[in-house]
Each structure stands twice: as C-alpha cells, then as structure tokens.
C-alpha cells in the first residue's frame, strides 16, 4: 500500500492524468456536440482510429507533423460526412451507421497499414512525426505544480480549449441554440425555419472534427506510431462520460477527467507487479461502475419525482 501511495502522490502521476485524459476530452466533446443535436454519434471510436492512422501516415509522407494533424482532422471529418450522408439523407439507423463506421475503421486501418507498412500490427517501420510538447514559461518553473501542467503535448492544451469552445458554442452562439433546439424537438425547430438536416450535419461534422484531434493525439503525441485498434475503447468511455456529464460540456469534461484518473492509475500500478491482464481492465471497470451508478441514481430520481 505504501508503494502504491508513493506512486500516486508524484508530479509524474498527475502529469499522466492530463496526458491520458486528452483523447477522452476530445471524444467526449464530440459526443456532446452530436448528442445535443439529437444525432448520437457512436462512431467516435472509429473516427479517432481513422484520424490516428491518417495522422501517422501523412506526417510520414509529408515529413511534417502539421500536415499529419491536418489530414487526421480531414479524414475524421470525412468519416463523419459519410455517416451524416447515410444517416440523414439515406435514413440509415444512426446506431447501425455508427457500427458500420467503427467496423470500417477497425478493419480498414489494418488494411491500409498493411499496404503502406507491410505489417498488420504497428507502423513503427514508418518514420512518422509527433506534435511538439510545449513548455509554458514562468508556470513551468513553479515547483510541483509546474511539472504537472507544463510540458504537455500541444494537443493537450487544445483539448482544454476544445472544452471551452464547446461550452461557448452551445451556450452563447446562434448555432449552439439551433443545435440544442433541433435536439430538443426537431419538429418545433423545423417549424421556426431551422433546417434540421443541415444542423444535424453540422453537429456530426463538428463531432468528427473533435475526433480528428483526439485521434491525431493518439498516434502523434501519446505514442509516436499507429497500432491496430489503438483507441482501445476510449471512444466508448467518452460516450459514458458524456451520459454521466448530462450532455453539459463542463460536466462531461469533469467525468472524462475521472475516467482519465482511472486510466492513469491502471498505467501506474502496472509497475507494481499486479497481474497486468486485470490491471488493464481498470478503466473499463471504472466506466462500467460509473455508468451503473449513474443509471441507478437517475432511475431513483425519476421514480421519486
């Protein structure tokens, strides 16, 4: 237990919380933006995976991390556009559409990974780029706190901005009102002249944009390569975080942080010699437990009300 405590109360551990929460923040903001507009995007996982692959590959092709990021975002938004086209114009069930995109991403990335790297596991043979870490002047010098919040990957700071952006967009802008109105009651929104399909398309594209950043972080920040199914459930954890955050950007960010702690914990205790197969399940157990507790509380509240 002592060794455990020593492991937890270090700047390194708190630093790692922000690191592992970054992709969750992006994905959960993607979940908020789409769900608020009434188009639950369950393909966050797949869109992030596509972005992670595109980021790795195009940063290698152009020898530039920035180009990698650009294409990561582009591909994730394109995947979102495909999903929007089928679900909104062709009336595919949005859940099934999400399943299709996830399956496409999971197999498709391996397919292309094999074509470009002749490997079905990882892309380590390709010299792809990583996005830079940023040392914040002054703050970085503060003892204890400095090493925790400074020196992160640039996308970690973008993730924080993404939360603020989502909050501002939804609460303060006309587009945000349209998104929420469509999600609340689309017939009503339609009757006052808001185009439902257009608004929901925007919601899905924004959701894809968030996934683009999240995926880029995975292959160009969290690690410096692409590996098969490397998102490993983060898109689903983000959905759980969004449900528990009641679709509110800030609440969702808080629950994402909670799951980030669980994730960081599972990485940290892996060094203690606990059975690694079980330790790896900690983030998923935490999510399952969190979702269960949340559902039970919501159920009780409804029953009493």
């Amino acid at each position: 237990m002592n060794a455990f405590m020593k492991l937890i109360f270090t700047s390194d551990f708190f630093y790692s919380i922000f690191r592992v929460t970054t992709p969750l923040l992006f994905a959960s903001m993607g979940a908020v933006l789409s769900d608020v507009a009434g188009v639950p995007n369950i393909a966050l996982e797949g869109m992030m995976l596509i972005a992670a692959f595109a980021g790795m590959y195009f940063s290698y092709v152009f020898n530039s991390a920035l180009m990698g990021l650009l294409f990561a975002v582009l591909f994730a938004v394109a995947a979102a556009a495909v999903m929007a086209f089928f679900t909104l114009y062709y009336k595919t069930n949005i859940i099934l559409g999400g399943i299709a995109i996830n399956s496409l991403a999971s197999g498709g990335t391996i397919f292309f990974l094999y074509l470009v790297a002749h490997d079905k596991g990882t892309s380590v043979s390709l010299a792809s780029k990583v996005l830079p870490n940023i040392n914040i002047p002054l703050i970085g010098d503060i003892p204890i706190l400095g090493p925790v919040i400074s020196g992160h990957n640039v996308l970690t700071y973008v993730a924080v901005l993404a939360v603020l952006f989502t909050w501002y967009l939804l609460k303060k802008t006309p587009l945000g009102y349209h998104l929420r109105a469509v999600g609340e009651k689309k017939e009503a929104a339609d009757s006052v002249g808001i185009s439902v399909i257009k608004t929901q398309t925007i919601a899905l594209l924004l959701s894809g944009l968030m996934c683009g950043f999240g995926g880029a972080f995975m292959s160009m920040g969290y690690v410096s390569w692409f590996s098969r199914d490397m998102i490993s459930g983060r898109g689903w954890i983000a959905l759980a975080a969004e449900a528990m955050g009641m679709q509110h950007p800030l609440g969702t960010a808080a629950t994402s942080l909670l799951f980030g702690v669980a994730d960081a914990l599972s990485n940290a205790v892996a060094t203690l010699g606990w059975p690694s197969d079980l330790v790896k399940t900690i983030p998923y157990c935490a999510t399952l437990a969190g979702l269960a507790i949340f559902s039970i509380r919501a159920y009780r509240k409804n029953k009493n009300a």
């Binding site: 496409l104 689903w236 999510t287």
Partner: protein
C-alpha cells in the same frame, strides 16, 4: 410473400452485389494481376472440397453470433457484447474440456453447457442494468468486452497455460471432449449441426412461443408493448439470457470444434460480424444460416486472394461496412420500392 418483403430481399441482394463490386474495385487498384485475383476471389472458394469445407467451418461461429445479434436486434436492443462472451465462454469452457473425465458424448456436451451458462450469466450484467435502470446496453456491453478479455487472459496465463509450449496456449483438450468430424477430408465438425439446430430452435422460439411474441412486440414498440401488459424489463432480461447462451455456446464450440487447445489471445471479432449477418438475414434466425454462408464465402475468397496477391483479408471489413450502411438505409432504392409495391397492387 408480400411485395414489400420481396422488395427487401431485392435490396439485400443489391447491397451484396455492391459490396462485391467494391471488392473488385479494391482488387483492381491494389493487385498486380487484377483479373486473376478477381477470378480467385469469386470462383476459387468453390473449386475444391477442402475450400468448401473451409466455408462451412468458418460459417459455424458466424451462425452463432448472427443468431445472438438477431435476437437482440429483434427486441431493438443494441448489445455488442457477443465478442467478449465468445472469448470468456471459450476460456471457461476450456476448463471442462481439459480436466474432468466425462464419458464420450457427455464431455463436449458438458463443455458446451458450461460455455452457454457462462454467456448467460455474463450477459445478465448489461441486461440487468438495462432492464432495471435503463443503462445504455451498447456502452456497458462494450466495456464488458474489454473486461472479459482481461479476465480471460488472466485465466489463460495463470491457470490454463501449458508451460511446455512456447506460445501462449492452454493445455491440450481431452480427445473425448473434442467435437467429432462429420465430413472426412475437411475440418467440418459436429458444431455445424448444432448451429443449424440452434437456428431452428431460435426460429421456433421467436415465432412460435409466447416469449418470442413478447420479444417481437417489445422490439416493434416498447411503449405499446408495455401498455398492453407485457413486462418489458422481463423481456429485456430474457433476450439477454438467450443471446448470451447462444454466443457462449458458439464460443466454446469454436474452441473444441476447430482447435486442440484454447488459443485465443485477443477478442476473436465475431461480435461485429454478427451484427452484419443479422442484418443481412433481416433478423430471421433461419436466414442467419444463409447470411453466415455468404460472409464466410467472402472471407474464404479474400483469404485466397490474400495468399496469391498480397491484398490483406481486412478488405472484408470494408465490404461489411458497406453492406451494413446500404441494407439499413431506408431510402436506398426507395424510388423503386414505391413502383414495385404499386405494381403488385394492380395485379
């Protein structure tokens, strides 16, 4: 048969055709010898008894996962936990196939029963949370998949692992616990018969029993079902138990049918396949058999192409997503649908 139903069949066929055309396009772009590869993809799976055998043996787990998903979809539940159930039922069932000394027929049967029970019990977690508290079954079941993978690997590493083997595999199954081969010269095993039997049973359950009726009613409109006196929570639980048992049985049957040891070290990937197969079959349990054969045929075709021309078999995933998107697209071909149905009325 109603005009509407036959239209749906046409649309399914068109979706399958589009998927195969996309496969052609992929092969044309990637392959050095496209014409040869397309020929291999389409024709070679039928060219020898052993390839035909491969199609049948690959179809077996697909039938099970397709059935599990069809039952879920019929109740309008989107649980993707079949994947994890396959894995954990295979792992736990392996204990029964390795150690207890059951007499001949009982040995595989005991393993299958244990696998089915494991699936049933595990599926109760997302099922119970959904039925009682309305927790989103898709997210909980996907979390369960990752947890079950961890637990299964823990069992494999610590209890099942054969230290005499270099790779991570379990001890050998007892000879008596293996499912018998039913077609000499291939690897087709008795599990295929069980799969077909299972499909018939699920069909009878869904269309000829009271519970099956309640499940279909709930799937059509849960609120209406609830108002007409159906206990929806109970239905959700039953659906999860049935689907869990089917997937669990499928998992252990795949292990003792095709392998000599438990050798999965990652999720086998049948969960998502099951979703597509159920959709191809229009959630009809008997249709699942045919759909599983179609997917299995694509698989073997892609596998053969892979051997001769370096196109990864994951091409299949791309085809699968196209099939899912097109089949579930209500407005795909909808212009023709109206005309087709009207033409039927006039006769």
């Amino acid at each position: 048969m109603s005009r509407e139903r036959s239209f749906n069949m046409i649309r399914t066929a068109v979706s399958m055709l589009v998927a195969i055309l996309v496969a052609f396009v992929i092969i044309l772009i990637v392959s050095d010898q496209p014409v040869e590869s397309i020929k291999i993809f389409l024709v070679m799976p039928f060219s020898s008894g052993s390839y035909l055998g491969n199609i049948v043996e690959t179809a077996v787990p697909l039938i099970f996962s397709g059935l599990a998903m069809a039952v879920m979809f019929k109740a309008n539940l989107f649980n993707l936990g079949g994947e994890g159930i396959f894995f954990i039922a295979g792992a736990v069932g392996s204990f029964v196939a390795i150690w207890p000394k059951f007499p001949s027929v009982l040995a595989p049967l005991a393993a299958i029963v244990v696998g089915a029970l494991v699936g049933m019990v595990v599926m109760m977690v997302p099922g119970g949370l959904k039925a009682k508290y309305g927790a989103n079954e898709m997210v909980t079941s996907l979390m369960m998949n990752n947890i079950l993978l961890g637990v299964g690997l823990y069992l494999l590493n610590n209890l099942l692992r054969d230290p005499g083997m270099a790779s991570l595999v379990s001890y050998k199954y007892r000879k008596k616990a293996l499912l018998a081969n039913i077609v000499p010269g291939t690897r087709i095993h008795a599990g295929f018969l069980i799969a077909v039997l299972c499909a018939v049973l699920v069909y009878l359950f869904m269309y000829k029993s009271k519970w099956g009726y309640e499940i279909r009613m709930t799937g059509n409109n849960a609120k209406f079902a609830s108002y007409s006196g159906i206990n929806v929570a109970k239905v959700i639980l039953i659906v999860h138990m049935v689907a869990g048992a089917i997937a669990g049985a499928g998992g252990i049957i795949e292990c003792i049918g095709l392998h000599k040891r438990f050798e999965w070290t990652a999720l086998p990937g049948y969960g998502f396949d099951g979703a597509m197969i159920a959709m191809l079959a229009g959630n009809n349990p008997l249709g699942v058999i045919g759909a599983a054969f179609f997917v299995s045929y694509l698989r073997i075709g892609a596998d053969l192409v892979n051997r001769s021309s370096d196109i990864p078999t994951e091409m299949i995933a791309i085809l699968q997503s196209i099939i899912i998107l097109l089949i579930s697209a209500e407005r795909f071909l909808h212009k023709y649908r109206q005309r087709w149905i009207e033409k039927g009325e006039k006769k």
